[in-house]
């Protein structure tokens, strides 16, 4: 259920993001989902990859700071109010969302979202109890 997301520290310099993407591309690593948190001088690139462990090693070899974080891939209905419904359930059950973003590809007629929770296990439990589909690793990573 839990998926390893790779977070990378990136300075705001020209071409730095391209370098990361090139490194991954050259090794045939596919980006399934990504988002960037930015500040004036640096950004935090968060990516869900099909080969997270391999990616982490390559990035480190090239001097990047890359760490793994556990996230959850959640399927929400791709209709107006679909995400709202999921968020409402989480809120009612006091599940804190640290951040979230969407997958690049659309798996089905549902939208696939990445969630980072404060308490991942509890979140999964609440989601499943409420019939919100938590996608397994294989599906999420497109394996």
């Amino acid at each position: 259920m839990k998926i390893n997301q790779i977070s990378i520290f990136i300075e705001n310099t020209k071409g730095r993001l391209a370098e990361v993407c090139n490194l991954l591309g050259d090794k045939g690593i596919n980006i399934r989902a990504l988002t960037i948190a930015e500040s004036p001088e640096f950004g935090i690139l968060r990516v869900v990859l099909d080969k997270p462990q391999e990616a982490k090693e390559i990035l480190k070899e090239h001097g990047f700071i890359a760490i793994s974080t556990e996230i959850v891939a959640v399927e929400v209905s791709d209709t107006p109010g679909g995400l709202a419904k999921a968020l409402q359930i989480l809120a009612q059950n006091n599940i804190d969302v640290e951040y979230m973003y969407g997958f690049v590809e659309k798996a089905t007629d549902k939208a696939l979202m990445v969630f980072k929770f404060v308490n991942t296990d509890k979140a999964i439990e609440v989601l499943q109890k409420n019939n919100i589909s938590v996608v397994d690793k294989k599906t999420a990573l497109g394996l």
Binding site: F9, E11, F42, G63, F64, I65, I67, T69
Partner: protein
């Protein structure tokens, strides 16, 4: 003019005899009056009576700056505090400040060497000097003041600050000499422009600039903007304050008054003397001081030394302009900053020692800025922006508390900071000093 021609132009043999006699006396004096020096000399197994020539100086122990701090306040004094006439204190940013004392005789010495400096810069009896170094615990103001009185000048004891008033009195009184830090000299030129005055019309003809390192390009800048002859004065409170060495009008090095402040240049790693003309750490022995005489004081200033007789006729050796510091100390907005302080501050954050780089800059005549780059490593990296911002703020708080100056913190990727032979360069000074 040459203030004390007999000494400043003394024959080399004659000078050596004076130095030898004084060193022999000094070693016996500190051995008798300073328990710390007695201990240092005994530890090396030296009989004070065996020091007879200035050439014996290399046998003597060094005095590092830490000694002054460790034996705070008066532990390194050789004179009873009751016989000390004046005390000066330099701002210490870590731990204890540095305290120095002067007996009446030491103050006479200070007047003498400072008078030599002012004359060496080109002053004559009867000139007026505007002393814009700070008066008070800092040695700058009073050091120049005593020398000017001794030389027979009219002193305008302005101290630093009140720039508009400095300029008004300069215009009204027409002092021939300005003594201040080079950056304050440039600031005064800037201030004149703001007052719609052409700095070139300043009444000053000679500048005696010191208390911070400055380059030939700054000299050109000051000379062009204020239309004066800008000379460099060197001094440090541990030795006496301003008055240790001074450029003559030829500006080919600073004459160091070696009859009283004996200079050596050593390799700071091996502690051995370097050949004449080669750069190294300047080490000074105060041959005649009473209150706090120092044997082989490690100034941490990097310079070279030449014994060639100068075109001005003085035989006193010359040190080069100070090229840097052995300890990377930088002076920012008048505050001494050591890279090790940043290191200690960063250690407080989480017990690791991230790589850092200090970048000092000065944008067109404004205040110096300090930017500190800190390399992010896996231990301190979090994928949450809030946590990273908090980390940045925490680093900023801790560093600013330690240094006492405002800084900008920049988190950078690993290996951003260049390393040479395993050692990182800790400071980049972009100010055109």
């Amino acid at each position: 003019m040459i203030f004390n021609e007999a000494v400043e132009c003394a024959g080399k043999e004659n000078l050596k005899n004076i130095q030898s006699e004084r060193l022999a006396k000094l070693v016996k004096y500190v051995y008798k009056h300073s328990p710390i020096y007695k201990q240092k000399i005994d530890a090396l197994g030296i009989n004070p009576e065996s020091i007879k020539s200035i050439d014996d100086i290399i046998k003597l122990p060094f005095t590092p700056k830490e000694d002054l701090r460790d034996y705070y306040p008066f532990g390194l004094f050789s004179a009873d505090i009751k016989n000390v006439a004046e005390i000066h204190v330099s701002s210490g940013t870590t731990g204890n400040p540095t305290v120095v004392g002067y007996t009446k005789k030491d103050l006479d010495l200070w007047s003498e060497v400072s008078a030599r400096c002012i004359a060496c810069a080109g002053a004559n009896k009867g000139d007026m000097i505007q002393v814009a170094y700070g008066y008070g615990l800092f040695t700058g103001g009073l050091g120049l003041h005593y020398g000017a009185l001794h030389l027979g000048l009219t002193v305008l004891p302005m101290s630093s600050g009140q720039s508009k008033r400095q300029i008004k009195l300069m215009q009204d009184f027409k002092p021939r000499i300005l003594a201040c830090t080079p950056s304050y000299g440039l600031y005064l030129a800037e201030e004149m422009r703001e007052m719609n005055l052409d700095p070139k019309t300043s009444k000053w003809e000679i500048g005696i600039f010191g208390a911070e390192p400055w380059s030939e390009s700054i000299r050109k800048n000051i000379e062009n903007s204020l239309n004066i002859s800008a000379t460099d004065i060197y001094g440090l409170s541990e030795i006496i304050g301003p008055g240790v060495a001074q450029e003559c009008t030829y500006k080919e090095g600073l004459h160091i008054w070696s009859d009283v402040f004996y200079p050596e240049i050593i390799d700071p790693d091996t502690n051995l003397p370097v050949p004449e003309g080669q750069q190294g750490e300047l080490v000074i022995t105060t041959l005649t001081k009473e209150a706090i005489p120092l044997l082989r004081y490690r100034t941490r200033d990097i310079a070279s030394l030449t014994y060639e007789t100068c075109k001005c006729g003085r035989t006193m050796p010359r040190i080069s302009k100070i090229r840097g510091r052995t300890d990377d100390m930088i002076v920012v907005r008048g505050i001494n900053v050591f890279p090790t302080q940043v290191e200690h501050a960063l250690l407080q954050i989480d017990g690791t020692l991230p790589n850092y780089l200090i970048i000092v800059d000065r944008q067109n005549g404004t205040m110096d800025t300090v930017e500190i780059w800190v390399e992010v490593d896996e231990k301190i990296f979090s994928d949450e922006m809030n946590a990273m911002s908090e980390l940045k703020n925490k680093i900023k708080r801790v560093i600013e508390t330690t240094l006492g100056i405002g800084t900008t913190i920049k988190l950078v990727e690993p290996k951003t900071i260049a390393r040479s032979e395993g050692k990182s360069k800790r400071v980049i000074d972009r100010r055109s000093l």
